[in-house]
Symmetry: C2
Subunit: 253 residues, 2 copies
């Protein structure tokens, strides 16, 4: 199909298996081939080295980024020049939708946290949305899902203690790592602290607290002595299975 063509000087050719993957993603779902081609026209598929800054807070978006591999980290630079990580977005995750649509400035800066492959959709997206009902609906579903993730973050930040947030996070890692009782932290403690909305000092204290329920840490390895005791600490919110939800716009009555 015509979307699977060569790309600009910066970009790579999109492989047919990538195109199939994309067509299953929420943005591309149920679009006809002509619209998929038009969306990909002028877009870039690009690998970036770790640390590449893609956008700075206060800038107007050029692209809507889709993270296909790797991860982005969002950060802000304070008046003292220090940067603080706000969030880490791992593939597959779409980012910058709200900004890409409204042309509002970025509230945060974004850089590649580890080797990332990104699809960068250009402003043509917005012209297509102007005329394409299915694409509008896809974007509504996507934004609804992202909104829900943010609400669950606010809920966690406001309701849970640092130890509760940490234990929920460890349990989610344990599930991802197929129930192993010794799990590997996916990144360094500074990033984990930022992701969980606490300082590195608070993270160390929370880890120490979880020692009481059999959690021990050695470098990036965490041993879970008693999974049930850890679950009791977490007070999981059954309404939120972050990242596992597959929300879509429901257009029935």
């Amino acid at each position: 199909m015509s979307g699977a063509r060569g790309w600009g000087a910066m970009g790579q050719t999109i492989a047919s298996e990538e195109l199939e993957f994309l067509k299953k993603s929420l943005i591309f779902e149920d679009l006809d081939d002509a619209t998929v081609s038009a969306l990909l026209e002028g877009s870039l598929l690009q690998r970036f080295p770790v640390g590449t800054v893609l956008f700075n807070q206060g800038e107007i978006p050029d692209f809507l980024y889709l993270v296909l591999e790797g991860a982005l980290e969002l950060f802000t630079v304070g008046p003292d020049g220090d940067d603080t990580i706000i969030e880490i977005l791992e593939a597959p995750y779409t980012y910058t939708v709200a900004r890409g649509l409204t042309m509002a400035t970025y509230l945060v800066s974004g850089r590649v946290a580890w080797v990332g492959k990104l699809l960068m959709l250009r402003g043509g997206l917005r012209s297509l949305i102007a005329e394409n009902l299915q694409l509008s609906h896809n974007m509504l579903g996507l934004l609804s899902r992202q909104f829900r993730v943010m609400v669950s973050q606010v809920k966690n930040l406001k309701l849970k203690t640092t130890a509760e947030r940490l234990s929920c996070y460890l349990i989610s890692l344990q599930e991802q790592q197929l129930g192993a009782m010794e799990i590997t932290l996916p990144y360094d403690k500074r990033r984990i602290a930022a992701r969980l909305g606490m300082t590195p000092v608070s993270l160390s204290r929370a880890l120490a607290k979880l020692g009481d329920v059999g959690v021990s840490v050695k470098g990036s390895r965490v041993r879970i002595g008693d999974i049930d005791a850890l679950r009791d600490c977490c007070k999981p919110d059954d309404l939120i299975r972050e990242g596992q939800e597959d929300l879509r716009l429901v257009t029935g009555p």
Copy 2:
């Protein structure tokens, strides 16, 4: 016009000035009269007494709520039966859009915080979105804006200390109250603490801390001795003027 008709047994007739107000809101903007009528068909305009619970967490949404007057508070009930306020939404503010569209369960419960007038749009909204491009775009603009408010909340919760959040809040009240140096807190301290994402004890500590820059409190009255010193505490984020942004979907190239 035909949308300004009578309502069901529960509801009030929508006044023509209310209809004009609605037609300027982001959901109704640029819709033709037939679509406005169809949207309002079967909807309810209703005043509720303080404390009325409109929906419970875990339920599937019946309505999309628009807060026309008063305020909603969102809360959760913990395993111990205590409720914690997550957020207070003051009119004019649209809520429950993401849930109304996707039919995902509510993550939080909602009740009337003070006398509220609500427009409750029924599921017919979703059928209309299925066929109406302008309405889809209006909802995209609205969701983008709500998403941005949530991002700024997460950013504030993760980056700012309790005293910084409190001083930003006092400054926003001072601006709303036309620059008065003695301002009135709009609700009790438990609610203000919840809104700012801190415990009532942390709020008291933060207030005491701001005493050093000339803030004094007596009941619901707060005196700001030195506005410049208070501004220095707040470290405002110029990128976020919460509630003052008027984002819309940009459909140009």
